[in-house]
């Protein structure tokens, strides 16, 4: 059994509190920059209301949005099999203590256990590495944005143009429903399941960092330009701030496939990570997996 300096359960409560009450700084800056260039009056008022709300939530230590989402966990580094139980215990405690809204229900009966648990919940992705630390990341994912997810199994002949069309349509067809200005997570390649997972993981990357891959970096820039000249605007009420960023991850795929997935993050794309090493716990709000 791996001994950690702080119980994982406590770290998970801290992570959920941090993610839900404090917007990552890179997203805060992007909102401020957007308010600076936005000329549409309604759009400007929406951005102002968002920034006010963010400040108040952080100040009083309450969740910035009532949809505290389904927390998606990523565990990377060294860990053993007991970590899942600790994460579940932390989530149940955080639901009462912060509090979070109990969101999980049986998909058919719609019965709500009241503790954000239930079969298959919470979702935990494991990434074992040879590192001598344990990194736990949480992405609380609200349903407004999650419900707009799209997977397209494009044809290889559709190429880059087909990918761009697919992403632009996914974001614009979603309209005001996912709470724009959004962060658009895109997965390109892999198999269908991996493609959707990559689109979500892309939302974890700080939006003020360039993509390491020059081609993806260019694509992100082009999509950002196109989407912000669409006129959709904050909350779908018009304006020039439709997205705060586009983030893309890719993996190799079958020679006969071109999978593309879009997973939208609302303006309140909440994330927090804890790096647990022998010497202590370090918290942050943006990682690359």
């Amino acid at each position: 059994m791996i001994k950690l300096p702080e119980p994982v359960e406590d770290v998970v409560v801290n992570l959920l509190r941090l993610a839900n009450t404090k917007l990552p700084m890179d997203i805060g800056w992007a909102l401020e920059a957007a308010a600076g260039w936005e000329t549409n009056e309604i759009a400007y008022s929406q951005l102002g209301a968002i920034m006010d709300n963010v400040k108040k939530a952080e100040h009083i230590g309450r969740p910035m949005c009532q949809d505290t989402g389904i927390p998606v966990f990523y565990v990377r580094g060294r860990f053993d099999s007991t970590i899942s139980d600790s994460i579940r215990a932390g989530l149940e405690r955080a639901t009462k203590e912060i509090p979070l809204r109990p969101n999980t229900v049986d998909p058919l009966t719609r019965e709500n256990p009241g503790n954000n648990l239930g079969q298959g919940m919470p979702i935990i992705h494991f990434i074992p590495t040879a590192d001598d630390f344990t990194e736990i990341t949480v992405l609380p994912k609200g349903a407004g944005s999650e419900n707009m997810t799209r997977l397209g199994m494009l044809n290889p002949a559709d190429g880059e143009a087909g990918i761009k069309r697919f992403v632009i349509d996914a974001v614009l067809d979603a309209g005001g429903r996912p709470c724009p200005p959004s962060i658009v997570g895109v997965g390109i390649g892999g198999t269908s399941d991996v493609c959707v997972a990559m689109a979500k993981e892309a939302l974890l990357q700080p939006i003020d960092e360039e993509n390491d891959d020059p081609v993806l970096n260019r694509l992100e820039g082009e999509l950002f330009q196109s989407l912000n000249s669409s006129g959709l605007g904050p909350m779908g009420l018009g304006g020039s701030t439709t997205v705060l960023a586009v983030r893309i991850k890719k993996a190799y795929c079958h020679t006969a496939s071109l999978p593309v997935a879009v997973n939208i993050g609302c303006w309140a794309t909440r994330r927090a990570s804890a790096k647990i090493s022998d010497s202590g716990v370090e918290y942050s709000q943006g990682v690359k997996l």
Binding site: S45, I50, P102, K164, D169, C179, M235, L237
Partner: protein, 185 residues
Amino acid sequence: MITLPLDEKTARSLKLGETVYLSGPVVTGRDEMHLRAMSLPDESIPDDLKGAVLFHCGPIMSRRDDGSWAVIAAGPTTSARMNSVEAGFIRRFGIRAIIGKGGMSEEVSEAMRETGCVYLAATGGAAISLAEGLSKCKGCEWEDLGMAEAMWRFDTSRFGPFIVAMDSEGGSLYRNVTESLVRDY
């Protein structure tokens, strides 16, 4: 500033794009609350649903030691999920205003035009600011539906701001934006 309950004349006087604040009784409701209300006979429907201002919201609530409820966070949910039931709901209960985000369908817009109802856009995710306007929780109906889905009753005071995004003449800011969207592939 509009004092609730809202009458038809006042609802019809609200202009597209106008900013409003509300004071008075408001009820919450989303997917399951709509289904529950529509499945019940008239005599089982709570009086305060009739002619109500309906807030598409599943708040975070916390019970105080004395048994009363405190609101922690309460922003709008995506209204389009209720598109398939809302036109019938508006007609049956005479809903005068819906507070939500993202807008609703043409079918709902038509029911709003017919009955004199408006759609008020709240800023999605502004759950702390909006909760400040919910001055008192007067309990809930259908608690078995769960915290997010129950019908919560609130007294509101300077609740807002909201933008009149669909008026009672069939106008819609969402339609205007959608029709002029530029798809730069």
